[in-house]
């Protein structure tokens, strides 16, 4: 094999070949590459949106639950020390209660809409640092610390606010309406709806919130928690912080990461990841076939030239390498242009115009890993797609190549 001659032939073929064909080939390679990145990034974005919804509206990064056989977390010193651990942004303690909520629009005992939902209590100052429910108010306002007879409810409880479970809702309540809540200990209270929120997570939208003081007055407990959710500044490092939280004194509590708690969403994430891998593999095969066709057409057109090259003593390997080099060149240019298009055109566009999916606003999640895998995929596709037709083309006899 003569690498120098292969490079020379590939270079002259690219530089002096048909410019229109070259442009079309590069365009196809670029689009094949953009397709590889785009599909993976969209699905990556969907998975990211699912995860973000869980983190922002349900679990934050870490959830601390009471130890087995305990109803509440009672270690006040440890609870108070969580926020002092470096890297922990904030924590928010919740009381959680299974309640029955009802709405009697005409106050006549007829046509009462009711259902069972979870109510969580929040310390507003802490909660707003840990979750984003307060940013998702679509009607009215979020709670304030001193609110006692106010409640904030999700759209799936309210009904008529674009939820998916209207048939299970209160049938359409609005800010200012009064609803009755029966807590698990039998206490009944009436609350005025202060706000209605809508996240893109239906599990979150089936919850309601009152203040911690109000919940403590109902449950007759103080300075305890049914759960503590913890926000950290470095997503992915949850295990490290769990260890530090345990060292702070919460030895027996049940501490989990958000990932461990996302049952449905986790399986959905896995499914999307699987789909992404499958589509990526198909995209790679399509890119490989595209390169194969490009090189195959090139070889059909250069059949006679291949015969001439063999006749003057060029080895088959040298000829094959020249075509593989061309294929790799197309792939490299496709990658460079594709990355440029993705990073400077497509990504900014989707940041400004995210896709509205049921799981949330989805932008492209372009990671170095996706780019690296796509680069390797396209290069491998170019190698195989270039090699096979070149190998077949050079195996033809010299006379058949030259004279057909």
């Amino acid at each position: 094999m003569n690498i120098k001659a292969s490079f020379f032939l590939a270079r002259t073929s690219i530089i002096r070949g048909n410019k229109g064909t070259l442009a079309m080939t590069i365009l196809i390679m670029t689009l094949a590459y953009v397709n590889l990145i785009f599909i993976s990034s969209v699905f990556g974005g969907i998975v990211e949106a699912i995860n973000e919804q869980s983190i922002n509206n349900l679990y934050s990064n870490i959830v601390i639950a009471p130890a087995d056989d305990e109803i509440y977390i009672e270690n006040k010193d440890a609870m108070n020390s969580i926020d002092t651990i470096p890297g922990i942004v904030a924590s928010s303690a919740h009381y959680i209660n299974n309640t029955a909520i009802s709405y009697d629009e005409n106050h006549d005992g007829r046509d009462v809409q009711q259902g069972k939902w979870l109510i969580k209590s929040v310390d507003v100052a802490d909660e707003t640092q840990v979750t984003k429910i307060s940013d998702s108010i679509i009607e009215g306002e979020y709670l304030e610390d001193n609110d006692r007879d106010k409640i904030v409810i999700g759209k799936e409880i309210a009904g008529s606010h674009g939820g998916d479970l209207d048939y299970l809702s209160l049938g359409g309540v609005y800010v200012g309406d009064q609803i009755d809540v029966k807590f698990s200990n039998g206490i009944k209270r009436t609350y005025t709806i202060k706000g209605i929120f809508s996240t893109k997570n239906s599990q979150a939208d089936q919850m309601a919130f009152i203040t911690t003081k109000e919940m403590e007055s109902v449950l007759h407990v103080y300075n305890l928690a049914s759960e503590i959710i913890v926000k950290i500044d470095e997503k992915g490092q949850e295990e490290k912080y769990i260890e530090q939280i345990r060292q702070a004194g919460l030895h027996d509590e049940d501490i989990k990461t958000w990932k461990q708690l996302t049952g449905f969403t986790s399986s959905a994430s896995k499914s999307f990841t699987m789909i992404s891998i499958i589509l990526g593999a198909i995209g790679t095969v399509v890119a490989g076939i595209t390169i194969f066709i490009i090189i195959f057409v090139s070889i059909v057109n250069k059949r006679r030239q291949i015969g001439i090259l063999k006749a003057i003593g060029m080895k088959e390997n040298t000829i094959i390498l020249s075509f593989v080099m061309q294929a790799i060149f197309y792939a490299i240019i496709g990658i460079i242009l594709g990355v440029s298009i993705i990073l400077f055109l497509v990504r900014p566009f989707f940041i400004d115009n995210p896709l509205d999916f049921p799981v949330g606003w989805v932008s492209l999640k372009i990671t170095f890993n996706i780019i690296r895998i796509s680069n390797i995929s396209l290069m491998v596709a170019a190698l195989i797609g270039g090699f096979i037709p070149a190998f077949r083309g050079t195996k033809e006899s010299i006379l058949d190549s030259i004279w057909g």
Binding site: K4, M314, I398
Partner: protein, 251 residues
């Protein structure tokens, strides 16, 4: 003339390296023994039927005959472009029939030169690149192959057109580029397959005179397929073929 002598010395060296003996006007450079070529099919075609002949080093030979007589088939067997069904082809003392594809490539590169009927130049290579490509394959340095290819193009009268692409040259000029390419590695034998078939009479005469000059001045062995009877005046000997068999010239 000095340049020709330089090439001749190089050619002798390359032949010696390949196990051949130095130039000798009586030395047989090609020996063909009972060569057969049959194209298999529903009805087999016997293109060559036990052809035997020899070619001395420095001879200029024309293979002539009617269409279908087997002259091109014979040239292809001699030039390792095709494999015979049976028989022996001994070039410079080596039976080439049993060569592997790799050995054939090597042999074609270093010992044989080809000029095809229809120029057979790569459209993307200019004259200089077309000529130095075989030298590049031998591993020569860039300065060496550019120098020698330039000299070769000057020798065939194209010193002023070395950067022209095939589409920018006439048919005669393209064929001269092909000849320069065929000769640039100092081949032991130059094969030409109807090299003037696509040329006008003036260009044809130029090419044949060039062959004659190469033959006389550097002793280049040339085997040329032609169907033009007038071409006989340029060659040392004619091998006549009819139905795959060599016939006496007067028949």
């Amino acid at each position: 003339m000095v340049l020709y002598q330089h090439f001749e010395v190089q050619k002798k060296v390359s032949l010696i390296q390949y196990g051949a003996k130095p130039n000798n006007k009586t030395q047989m450079i090609i020996e063909v023994k009972k060569l057969k070529k049959t194209y298999e099919g529903k009805v087999p075609t016997y293109a060559l039927k036990e052809v035997s002949f020899g070619v001395k080093k420095g001879e200029f030979i024309a293979l002539m005959g009617r269409s279908g007589s087997g002259k091109s088939t014979l040239l292809h067997q001699l030039g390792l472009l095709d494999s015979p069904t049976a028989g022996q082809i001994i070039i410079d003392g080596t039976n080439i029939v049993s060569f592997t594809e790799k050995q054939k490539s090597e042999f074609r590169l270093k010992k044989l030169g080809y000029v095809f009927q229809s120029y057979a130049l790569l459209p993307e290579l200019n004259a200089l690149e077309s000529v130095y490509l075989p030298l590049m394959l031998t591993g020569a340095s860039k300065s060496q192959y550019i120098k020698k290819a330039t000299e070769m193009l000057e020798k065939v009268g194209l010193g002023e057109r070395i950067y022209h692409l095939p589409k920018e040259m006439s048919g005669g000029e393209q064929q001269r580029v092909a000849i320069a390419r065929a000769l640039v590695n100092d081949p032991a034998i130059l094969f030409a397959d109807e090299p003037t078939a696509n040329l006008d009479s003036e260009s044809s005469e130029t090419i044949l005179k060039l062959f004659k000059k190469l033959n006389k001045e550097i002793g280049q062995t040339i085997i040329m397929v032609t169907h033009e009877l007038d071409d006989r005046k340029h060659v040392d000997r004619v091998i006549w073929l009819k139905d795959g068999v060599i016939k006496p010239e007067n028949t």
